[in-house]
C-alpha cells in the first residue's frame, strides 16, 4: 500500500460471541490471566458442534419490537453488534456523526424458512409436477417479509434504520473473503482521505441447518464433540461453526483525536489475495501478504489465526505462521469461538484491538497449543485462510 496520508485507528468495538455480549465480557475472560472456557452445543445439531448465540436481550440495541420482528437472528445479531460498536465509540447518540458515517458490511444470506422448505420437499415426493407445486406453495406459504430477512444487503439496511448510520452503505459477500475485503476497503478509503469514519463488520449465526448444509456439502464440519481444535501432528479436526457479530468503528487518526475518542489500536495495513492452493502457492501468497502488510514478529507481537479447522489447510497455515513468525504466540480464534465465515476476520481484528488496548497479555485460546504470552502485546497480526478460498492478513499496532 502506497497510501499513508491518513493513519487509520479503531475507536469502537462491538463484539458478541458464544463467550458473551460486549467488549467487557470478553475482556474479563481473555485479559485477566485465566483460562477461557469455550461454550459449545453438541446436542442440538448433532453430530455437529456449534458455538451458540449467548443469552442476549435484543431490545437493548434494537428497542422497537417492530424492527426486531422484521429480522431473523442473523440480521438481529449484526444490528446488535453494530450498535455496541457505535456505543463503544461514543457515537451512538451523535446523529451527525452517524448520518455521515460510512458503512461496509460483510454478509452471507439470511435464514431460510425451514418449515416451508420442508413442506415443499415433502410434497414433492408425492407429485410429478414439481414446478407447479413450487409455484403453489411459494405463493401461499412464503412470508413476504422473509425475503427481506434473507437479503444480504438488508443487514446494512437494518443498521441504517435502527442506528441511523447513513453516510453510505455497502455490503460485501463471498464467505471469509467478504470480511477481509470489508476491512481492507474501509482502511483504504480512510487512508486515502475518501472517508473519515466508517462502521465495518459482519455477523454469522451458526445455529442454522441451512448453513450447516452449505458447509457439509463438502464434508467440512467436525463431528467429534470431544476433539480439540488441533491434533498433536499439527492438523486440525474439522470446522465447527461459531456464532459471532463483530463490528468496528474505524476513523482517521485526526478525526478520532479531534473528538477525543479512545483509540484501541492503529490498523496499519490490510490485504487479501486468492488463487490456487496447489503445491506451495498458498504459502507463497501468505508470504507476499506478510511482506506487503509489513507483518513481522518483532517485539511483542501476537498472531490471531483465523484457521477454519479444515485438517490440512489449517496445518499449512500453522506451519507458515511458525516459520514466518517464530517468536510470536498464536491465538487460534476458531478454537475458542468457532468459525464464523463472513464475521471471522472482523471478529479476529476486534480481539486483536482488545489485546492491544490492555496492559495484560491475552490468554491462549487453544489450551495446550497456543503459547502463553508473558507480556502485553504491542503489535498484532491477523490472518485468514478461507475454508475454500481467499487469504488475508491485517497488521495492527498499540497506540496507548
Amino acid at each position: 500500500m502506497t497510501d499513508t496520508r491518513h493513519q487509520v485507528v479503531v475507536t469502537g468495538i462491538g463484539l458478541v460471541t458464544s463467550l458473551g455480549v460486549g467488549r467487557q465480557a470478553h475482556r474479563e475472560q481473555l485479559m485477566t490471566g485465566g483460562t477461557p472456557q469455550k461454550v459449545t452445543d453438541s446436542e442440538r445439531f448433532a453430530p455437529y458442534t456449534v458455538y451458540p448465540l449467548p443469552e442476549i436481550d435484543w431490545s437493548t440495541q434494537i428497542p422497537r419490537r417492530g424492527d426486531q420482528r422484521q429480522m431473523e437472528n442473523w440480521q438481529r445479531l449484526g444490528v446488535y453488534a453494530a450498535g455496541l460498536a457505535l456505543d463503544d465509540a461514543g457515537l451512538k447518540e451523535d446523529a451527525e456523526a452517524c448520518a455521515s458515517m460510512d458503512m461496509i458490511v460483510s454478509a452471507g444470506g439470511g435464514e431460510r424458512d425451514i418449515a416451508v422448505d420442508s413442506l415443499i420437499v415433502e410434497e414433492s415426493r408425492k407429485r410429478n409436477d414439481r414446478e407447479q407445486l413450487l409455484n403453489e406453495k411459494l405463493t401461499t406459504e412464503l412470508r413476504p417479509t422473509l425475503f427481506l430477512a434473507q437479503l444480504s444487503n438488508l443487514l446494512a439496511g437494518n443498521i441504517s434504520i435502527v442506528h441511523k448510520v447513513t453516510g453510505s452503505s455497502r455490503t460485501l459477500m463471498g464467505e471469509e473473503g467478504a470480511g477481509i475485503s470489508a476491512i481492507e476497503t474501509g482502511h483504504a478509503r480512510i487512508a486515502a482521505g475518501q472517508s473519515t469514519h466508517c462502521l465495518v463488520g459482519g455477523a454469522f449465526v451458526s445455529e442454522r441447518l441451512d448453513m450447516l448444509m452449505v458447509m457439509e456439502a463438502v464434508q467440512g464440519l467436525g463431528k467429534d464433540p470431544e476433539a480439540a481444535f488441533w491434533n498433536s501432528d499439527g492438523t486440525a479436526n474439522g470446522m465447527n461453526l461459531g456464532t459471532a457479530g463483530a463490528f468496528l468503528v474505524l476513523e482517521s487518526l485526526e478525526h478520532a483525536q479531534a473528538r477525543g475518542a479512545h483509540i484501541y489500536a492503529r490498523l496499519d495495513a490490510v490485504l487479501g489475495d486468492r488463487g490456487s492452493r496447489e503445491g506451495e502457492r498458498m504459502e507463497q501468497r501468505l508470504a507476499g501478504l506478510a511482506d506487503e502488510t509489513g507483518a513481522s514478529d518483532d517485539g511483542d507481537t501476537v498472531v490471531f489465526s483465523g484457521a477454519s479447522g479444515y485438517p490440512d489447510l489449517s496445518a499449512r497455515e500453522r506451519a507458515f505462521l511458525k516459520s514466518r513468525f517464530p517468536s510470536a504466540p498464536v491465538r487460534t480464534v476458531g478454537a475458542l469461538f468457532g468459525h464464523s465465515i463472513e464475521a471471522h476476520f472482523p471478529t479476529a481484528v476486534a480481539l486483536a484491538c482488545m489485546a492491544l488496548d490492555d496492559d495484560a497479555p491475552i490468554s491462549p485460546f487453544a489450551a495446550g497449543e497456543d503459547a502463553p504470552a508473558s507480556t502485553a502485546a504491542n503489535a498484532a497480526i491477523v490472518t485468514s485462510v478461507g475454508h475454500f478460498r481467499g487469504e488475508g492478513i491485517a497488521r495492527l499496532t498499540r497506540m496507548s
Partner: protein, 428 residues
C-alpha cells in the same frame, strides 16, 4: 497533454472507461443492444424458464440465449459476466492478465429448488426423519457434493472471473441491491483515485431469475402484472405503471486512470467523473417520502464530479416503473434541477430491458456512456398515458439526437441503497 489534464477538480486522477461489454434481454454485445435500445425495442417476453400459469406475473426480461453448463444462478451469472468481460477487454485492447482489481456486483444466491429436490430424492427411506435440512445433512454426510457447495457460495463467481481474466488480489463481490452495478463502478473509481492501481475491472451481473425470486418480489407487490402484451408492461413515468419487470443482464467496464489509458494509446470512451451515495433510514423497501437521501445522493455525485446541475445534459433514470420509485425519483430530480427540470431529458432504459437488478447500475452506465459518444438519447417506451404529476421530458417513445457532455445515472434499491454516477465526455 499536461499532467494537470489527467487530474480532476480535486487533483485526483481522472478515471476513463476504455472498454465496455453488455448483455441484456435485447441481446449480446454493445452494438446489438444499442441498436435495439435506440430503436425502442423491448426485450420483455413471457416466462419460459419455469411454468408461470397461475402466477400474477408471467413476464420477464431473462437472458436465455447464452449457454450454461447447469441451470443455476451462479452458472448463469458467471456466463453473462464472462461474456461481457471478454467484450470489454477486447474493446480496451487488453489481452493476457488484466493485472488490476476486480469489483463484482453479483446477486445474493439462494440454492436452486431443483437441487433441493435432487437432494430430497437422494434421501433413503430410513433417513426420512426430521425436517428437510436434517435429511439433506444425512445425505451429504454419506456423500459430499462439491458441485452443490460451489453453486451456493457467494464467492464462486468472482473466483472464476479472477482466474479467467487474471485480475489482481482478492476480488470484491458486493451487493447493494438494485444499486449494485453503480457501487461496483464506484469501488473501481475509488481504487484508482487511491493510487492503488492504474486499472480496475467493474462487473455487474444478474442471472438469478427463478420461480422463487419472482414470487418473492411478487409478494412485495413490486412486479408489474400487465402480462399482455409483455413488451408493454414496463411503462415508467406513466399514470398506469404498476411495477417493475424482473430481468437479467450483465455489464463490464474497464476503468483506467486517464493518464494510463492515454499513455498506452487506448481509446477513451468516456470519464466516470463523479460518484455519490447516501443511505436511507426510512424503511426496508420504501424511500423517505421527502426524497432527502436520493437528493443527497444526486448532489453528492455532482459535487464529486465538480459539476453543477446545470451542466448535466441528460439523465439516465432509475425509472423502474413502480408507482413509488418514479414518483420519488421525480421529486428528487426536480428538487435538484429546479426550474431547469423541464429542459433536461430523462429516460428509462428499463422501459425496454426491464429491471436487471444487480446489473442495472452498470448496464445503464454503459448506455449512458453510449449516449454521450453517439449523441443519441434512448427513449422511454410505452409512454402512452403520462402521469401528470411527473412532468418530465422522458424522451417519449422515440429516440432523439442531442449533444450531451455529462450524464447523471441514478440507482436506488431496497435496504435504503442509493448510488448515482456522473459520466462525462473525454476532456477536450
Amino acid at each position: 497533454m499536461s499532467k494537470a489534464a489527467y487530474k480532476d477538480h480535486l487533483g485526483r486522477p481522472l478515471v476513463a472507461v476504455t472498454g465496455m461489454g453488455v448483455v441484456s434481454s435485447l441481446g449480446q454485445g454493445v452494438t446489438d443492444n444499442w441498436a435495439a435500445l435506440t430503436s425502442g425495442k423491448s426485450g420483455i417476453h413471457p416466462i419460459t424458464r419455469f411454468p408461470s400459469e397461475g402466477l400474477s406475473t408471467r413476464i420477464c426480461g431473462t437472458v436465455d440465449f447464452i449457454d450454461i453448463p447447469a441451470p443455476n444462478a451462479v452458472e448463469r451469472s458467471f456466463a453473462f459476466a464472462r461474456e461481457t468481460t471478454i467484450e470489454a477487454l477486447a474493446q480496451a485492447g487488453i489481452s493476457g492478465d488484466f493485472g488490476g482489481p476486480l469489483f463484482l456486483a453479483a446477486p445474493p444466491i439462494e440454492p436452486e429448488w431443483n437441487d433441493r429436490f435432487n437432494l430430497g430424492d437422494r434421501v433413503k427411506p430410513e433417513q426420512v426423519t426430521g425436517n428437510a435440512y436434517e435429511q439433506f445433512l444425512a445425505v451429504l454426510r454419506e456423500k459430499a457434493d462439491p458441485t452443490y457447495h460451489e453453486a451456493i457460495l457467494f464467492g464462486s463467481i468472482s473466483e472464476r472471473l479472477a482466474d479467467s481474466f487474471g485480475t489482481r488480489g482478492l476480488p470484491v463481490t458486493l451487493s447493494t441491491a438494485c444499486a449494485s452495478g453503480a457501487t461496483a463502478i464506484q469501488l473501481g473509481v475509488e481504487a484508482i483515485r487511491q493510487g492503488r492501481t492504474d486499472r480496475a475491472l467493474s462487473v455487474a451481473t444478474d442471472g438469478s431469475v427463478s420461480a422463487e425470486s419472482l414470487i418473492r418480489f411478487s409478494l412485495l407487490s413490486a412486479l408489474s402484472t400487465n402480462n399482455d402484451p409483455p413488451e408493454k408492461a414496463s411503462r415508467p413515468f406513466t399514470k398506469d405503471r404498476d411495477g417493475f419487470v424482473i430481468a437479467e443482464g450483465s455489464a463490464t467496464l474497464v476503468l483506467e486512470s486517464l493518464e494510463a489509458a492515454i499513455s498506452r494509446g487506448a481509446r477513451v470512451l468516456g470519464i466516470i467523473s463523479g460518484c455519490g451515495e447516501k443511505a436511507d433510514d426510512f424503511h426496508r423497501t420504501r424511500s423517505s417520502p421527502s426524497g432527502a437521501p436520493a437528493i443527497a445522493t444526486i448532489r453528492a455525485a455532482l459535487e464529486d464530479a465538480g459539476l453543477s446541475a446545470d451542466q448535466i445534459g441528460y439523465i439516465n433514470a432509475h425509472g423502474t416503473s413502480t408507482p413509488e420509485n418514479d414518483k420519488m425519483e421525480y421529486l428528487s430530480l426536480s428538487t435538484v434541477f429546479g426550474e431547469r427540470m423541464p429542459e433536461v431529458p430523462v429516460s428509462s432504459n428499463k422501459s425496454m430491458i426491464g429491471h436487471t437488478l444487480t446489473a442495472a447500475g452498470a448496464v445503464e452506465a454503459v448506455f449512458s456512456l453510449l449516449t454521450i459518444s453517439t449523441g443519441t438519447l434512448p427513449p422511454t417506451i410505452n409512454y402512452d398515458n403520462p402521469d401528470p404529476s411527473i412532468p418530465l421530458d422522458v424522451v417519449p417513445n422515440v429516440k432523439r439526437d442531442a449533444t450531451v457532455t455529462s450524464v447523471l445515472s441514478n440507482s436506488f434499491g431496497f435496504g435504503g441503497q442509493n448510488a448515482c454516477l456522473v459520466m462525462s465526455a473525454e476532456p477536450a
